[in-house]
Structure formats: structure tokens, C-alpha cells
């Protein structure tokens, strides 16, 4: 049980287009792993398959030894897998605090029609704690839509954490961020990874080399390499894809 998430022969087709082909990867428990690759490598498709946005066309995914391949999206959060999206995805008209509170509420009560939210103090406090942890406590009462891009990304992570996940999936968490925001976000990710398994998708290889324990490299929808950052750095195939042919 050292591997928390295992993908076996995962493939995904969109019509005639093969986005993923026979990808088999295991992610170690309590490690920080990254899925990297050039544009169009299938990173986001793979992320979407393992986070339940859409099912794989072939192969299977197991989480803690149980098959999760065909589960509906909402079951993922209930089983302990939370994610943040590549494109910021919050509840735009709700306050930052309510965004996190409603995400935390899932663990405790889903169909309570009677108790006023304001009286469930435990959830209110939990949401305040999470805002504090991701560093946006000052924005507690701001409407999510009006917050800066970097703050919205932090808010998303707070929402993901509110599910108390054992596995946290982050899709390009630093996309569109300024250099300072990026540094702060990477710090936050390292801190979060100290307490749980984190898998992130990242386009910028440099960013993850220093902090990840495990790297998975995808190219043209296929698994190119996996291993420790040192293994990957020494891998000739990876060098060719990333350095030899330049960016594409």
C-alpha cells in the first residue's frame, strides 16, 4: 500500500483523436509528484481522468486499492481526492469564506434543509482556518469574482483542502501568476505536501525539479519516463524532447 494512486494502461480517445495511449503510472503515498511534458503531451487529459472529470476510454485507475475508473465526479471528493482546476474555478458571486465553507460542508452535511448555516459554527471556523493557511484571510468577505487572480487560485486550493483530502490534485497551480505569486504558491504546495499526497501538473519543468520527489513525463499522449528528478534529468529521451527539439 505504498502507492496511493495507480493507473494501469489508461487510454483516452476523443472521437478519432488519441489523447492518451496506454499510460501506466504509480504515485507514491505522502510524496509530492509532478506530471510534466511539453504542450499537447496529454498532461491535462491524464489529470482529468485521474481526477474524475471524465472516465478513461480504456485501462483502469485505482485509489488506495479500489477501482475508481468509472465513478461519477462527486464521488471523488467523497473518497478523499480533491482537485483544483487549470482555469480558475470558484463560485464567483459568493464570498471567499462561503466558497470554502460550502466546500467544507460536504464532509458534514449535504442535505440538511433545516439548520441555519450560521449556526454550524464548526464549519465557519474551519473555513476561517483554511483561508488563514492559504494566506487570504484578509479577503474573507470579498466576493470571489472581485479577487486578484493569484488570490482566486489560493481560494481554490483552500476549497480543495476543505474536503480533507488524502490526495490533492493540482492542475497547473501557477498558471498565469506573477513571479512573486509563483514563489508563494510553490511554498504553499511544499507545505501542503508535508501532510498529504500531492500530484501536480506543470508545464514549466524547472519549477518542479527542485521540490518534487517523483516526476512523470508524458509526450504525445504516452509515458516517456518516470522516476526521481535525478533520473529524469539524466534521461536521454527526456532531454531530446525538452531540449533537443525546442519548444512546441
Amino acid at each position: 500500500m505504498s502507492d496511493i494512486l495507480v493507473a494501469e494502461g489508461v487510454g483516452k480517445k476523443f472521437g478519432g483523436f488519441v489523447a492518451l495511449k496506454d499510460v501506466s503510472v504509480s504515485f507514491a503515498r505522502d510524496k509530492l509528484s509532478a506530471i510534466i511534458g511539453p504542450n499537447g503531451a496529454g498532461k491535462s487529459t491524464f489529470f482529468n481522468v485521474i481526477s474524475g472529470a471524465f472516465p478513461a476510454s480504456s485501462g483502469r485507475v485505482t485509489f488506495e486499492g479500489r477501482d475508481i475508473t468509472a465513478l461519477p465526479t462527486h464521488e471523488y471528493a467523497r473518497r478523499g481526492i480533491a482537485k483544483s482546476f487549470q482555469i480558475t474555478n470558484v463560485f464567483p458571486q459568493l464570498s471567499a469564506h462561503e466558497n470554502v465553507r460550502v466546500a467544507a460542508q460536504m464532509q458534514k452535511t449535504r442535505y440538511n434543509l433545516w439548520t441555519p448555516r450560521a449556526r454550524i459554527r464548526e464549519l465557519i471556523a474551519q473555513a476561517d482556518d483554511l483561508l488563514e493557511r492559504v494566506g487570504i484571510a484578509a479577503k474573507r468577505n470579498s466576493v470571489a469574482r472581485d479577487m486578484a487572480h493569484g488570490e482566486q487560485r489560493c481560494l481554490e486550493i483552500a476549497m480543495a483542502l476543505a474536503c480533507q483530502p488524502r490526495l490533492l490534485l493540482l492542475d497547473e497551480p501557477t498558471a498565469g501568476m506573477s513571479p512573486e505569486e509563483t514563489v508563494r504558491m510553490m511554498d504553499l504546495i511544499v507545505r501542503l505536501a508535508a501532510e498529504r499526497t500531492v500530484i501536480l501538473v506543470e508545464h514549466k519543468m524547472k519549477l518542479v525539479m527542485g521540490i518534487c520527489q517523483q516526476l512523470v513525463v508524458l509526450h504525445h499522449g504516452e509515458l516517456l519516463a518516470q522516476g526521481s528528478p535525478d533520473d529524469i534529468r539524466a534521461n536521454d529521451e527526456v532531454k531530446r524532447v525538452y531540449l533537443g527539439q525546442g519548444k512546441h
Binding site: 481526477s51 461519477p72 465526479t73 462527486h74 464521488e75 471523488y76 471528493a77 467523497r78 480533491a82 482537485k83 482546476f85 474555478n89 470558484v90 463560485f91 464567483p92 458571486q93 459568493l94 462561503e98 465553507r101 460550502v102 466546500a103 460542508q105 460536504m106 464532509q107 452535511t109 449535504r110 442535505y111 440538511n112 434543509l113 433545516w114 439548520t115 441555519p116 448555516r117 450560521a118 454550524i120 476549497m159 476543505a162 474536503c163
Partner: protein, 329 residues
């Protein structure tokens, strides 16, 4: 100085408004208690009360969950028939009949909702519309139970016994206040639902249903629950309407009823607590007052509606709330 006076006056309004929003149930009930004395005649107030409750139930689905149903005529109508049928055919007491109306409407809402929530946007509206038409034809053809084309007649409740008091139910003032009692309970429950964790989930689904699912909420189930709850509130309105009219005209199930309630909710302000009552009042008063001068009152209502949709999409109550909140900052 007048310059000093204006902001102070505005802040008084804002405080008043904040109090109304905070105590929305009490404020709405207070308003409805004096309402019969503000309109030309009492029977009109009863109409507005019932349509307001109907629009409130519709608003749960449209204003809070973001689902635009064009089939709510079926829910109001079935609520009416459910209440009327058990009085006419079984002679059951009025309060049990109201509960039957609620149960019937909720059951129909479950069936329509179950089929419609698989679709989104305009398709959702079209499926609800089509299913409501089916309900219309069933009730139209099932003459032995529903009275068919002639409607269901003979829902005669002339006196009701309330905690030992005999009340003359034919007197419009008595009728209004008895019905207001029922509406008050509905308002209270409605408000609790909005403030509950479930109410929060409804808002998240309106805002971003993909995110709601990623948070672990079953979007389809929540939508279905909202549909059934909406049906229950519309069922109360339907049952009260049957008691008010002593008959259920089959026309209640027609598509125009579904259209009217959409207009009322939009005129009053969708997603607001009090808006549906304002919308119902404006709609009914338009019909009532303008028919004295012209038979084309719907032309004027339609024009007003277009002006609102184009320039005040928040509706009457929604715009008032918005202006006073903007004035604050």
C-alpha cells in the same frame, strides 16, 4: 442643509432595508397582513397572495438553483386538483386536502424533474414544457375524476373550524387571513431552506455546477430535490387556489400559467425572497386595473415586461435592493 439631509435619508432607507432583508419572513408577513387594505378589493388580494406563493415556489428552482422551468402550470394545477378531488370525491376536511395537494404536486414534480434534470439550459425548459402539456391532456381527458373540460366543480368549503372557532370562509377577509396563515408557515419553511446547508448547495449549483460536483455534491440529486421542493410550495398555492375559487378550471394547466409565473418572478426580481409577491401584485393589478380602460391590458403588461428585462434585469425588488446597496459603498 439639503446636502446633509439626503445622505441621512438614504441611510435611514438602507437601515430599514437591512432590517427587512434580515427579518425577511416577519417583514413579508407584516406586509401581507396590511395588504388587503391597499388593493381595490379583497378577492384581488387573495389572488395576489396565491400567485405570490406560486411565484415563490417557482423562484426556488429558477432564482436559487438556476433552472428555468416552463412547466410549472402542472405543479400549480395538480396541487389544485389534488386538493379539490379529495374534497369533492371523498369529502375530506380542507386542511387534509391541502396536504393532499402538496403530496400530488410533489409527486408530479418528482416525475417531471426526474426526466428533465438530464438536460440543461433551453432543453430543460422545453422538456418541462412538454411534460406539463402531457399532464394537461391527462387531466383534460380523465373526465370522471377531474370534470374534464368543465373543470372540477363543487369544492364547497363554506365554514371552517379553526381551534374550536367556526369561521365563515365565504367572507373574503376571513378567507384571506386563513390563507395567510398557511402562506406564513410556507414562508417560514422556505426561508429555513434557503438559509440551510442545502440552500448553500443550491447556490453553488447555480454559480458553477462543475465545481459543485468537484466539491463532492451530487448535482443531479440536488436539482431533483429542488424540483420536488418547488413542487411542494407550488402545490400549497394550487390547493389554496382550489379553496378560493371553489372550482378547478382545467385552463390552470395550460401553458399560459407557466408563462405568467415566469413573468411574475422576473418582474419582482428572481432570486429574491420578497420579489415574487411584488411581481404577482404588479401582474394582477395590471390585469385588474387596466381592464377597466382597455381589453388590451396584456399589451401594456408585455411592454412593461420588456422594459424590465432590457433595463432592469434584477426586477423591481432586486433593483431596489441593488441600488440601496450600491449607494452604501
Amino acid at each position: 442643509m439639503p446636502g446633509n439631509d439626503t445622505p441621512r435619508a438614504a441611510s435611514v432607507w438602507r437601515l430599514a432595508l437591512a432590517a427587512i432583508v434580515r427579518h425577511r419572513v416577519a417583514a413579508t408577513i407584516l406586509f401581507l397582513m396590511v395588504f388587503p387594505w391597499l388593493v381595490p378589493y379583497h378577492a384581488l388580494a387573495i389572488n395576489i397572495l396565491i400567485w405570490g406563493l406560486f411565484a415563490l415556489g417557482f423562484n426556488l428552482l429558477y432564482g436559487y438553483a438556476g433552472l428555468l422551468s416552463f412547466g410549472h402550470a402542472a405543479l400549480l394545477g395538480v396541487g389544485s386538483y389534488g386538493c379539490g378531488i379529495v374534497i369533492v370525491h371523498f369529502g375530506w376536511p380542507w386542511y387534509v386536502a391541502i396536504l393532499c395537494g402538496i403530496a400530488f404536486a410533489s409527486a408530479v414534480a418528482y416525475v417531471i424533474g426526474f426526466l428533465a434534470i438530464r438536460t440543461r439550459g433551453i432543453y430543460f425548459s422545453m422538456v418541462t414544457l412538454a411534460l406539463a402539456e402531457c399532464v394537461y391532456y391527462i387531466f383534460y381527458k380523465w373526465e370522471s375524476v377531474t370534470g374534464g373540460e368543465n373543470g372540477l366543480r363543487g369544492i364547497n368549503v363554506s365554514t371552517i373550524n379553526l381551534l374550536g372557532f367556526e369561521i365563515n370562509f365565504l367572507d373574503p377577509v376571513n378567507k384571506y387571513y386563513v390563507m395567510l396563515g398557511v402562506v406564513a408557515i410556507a414562508l417560514w419553511i422556505f426561508s429555513r431552506i434557503l438559509a440551510s446547508p442545502f440552500g448553500a448547495v443550491l447556490e453553488t449549483i447555480r454559480e458553477n455546477d462543475a465545481r459543485a460536483a468537484a466539491c463532492g455534491y451530487n448535482v443531479a440529486n440536488t436539482k431533483l430535490m429542488a424540483f420536488v421542493l418547488s413542487g411542494a410550495f407550488c402545490g400549497v398555492a394550487g390547493a389554496l387556489r382550489a379553496l378560493h375559487l371553489s372550482t378547478v378550471p382545467v385552463e390552470v394547466l395550460q401553458i399560459s400559467t407557466s408563462g405568467d409565473v415566469v413573468m411574475m418572478a422576473l418582474l419582482g426580481g428572481f432570486g429574491t425572497f420578497f420579489g415574487p409577491f411584488i411581481g404577482a401584485a404588479v401582474f394582477q393589478l395590471f390585469g385588474d386595473v387596466l381592464t377597466l380602460w382597455t381589453t388590451h391590458w396584456q399589451l401594456y403588461l408585455g411592454a412593461t415586461f420588456i422594459v424590465f428585462v432590457l433595463f432592469f434585469p434584477r426586477g423591481i425588488w432586486g433593483s431596489i435592493l441593488h441600488w440601496l446597496r450600491v449607494a452604501k459603498s
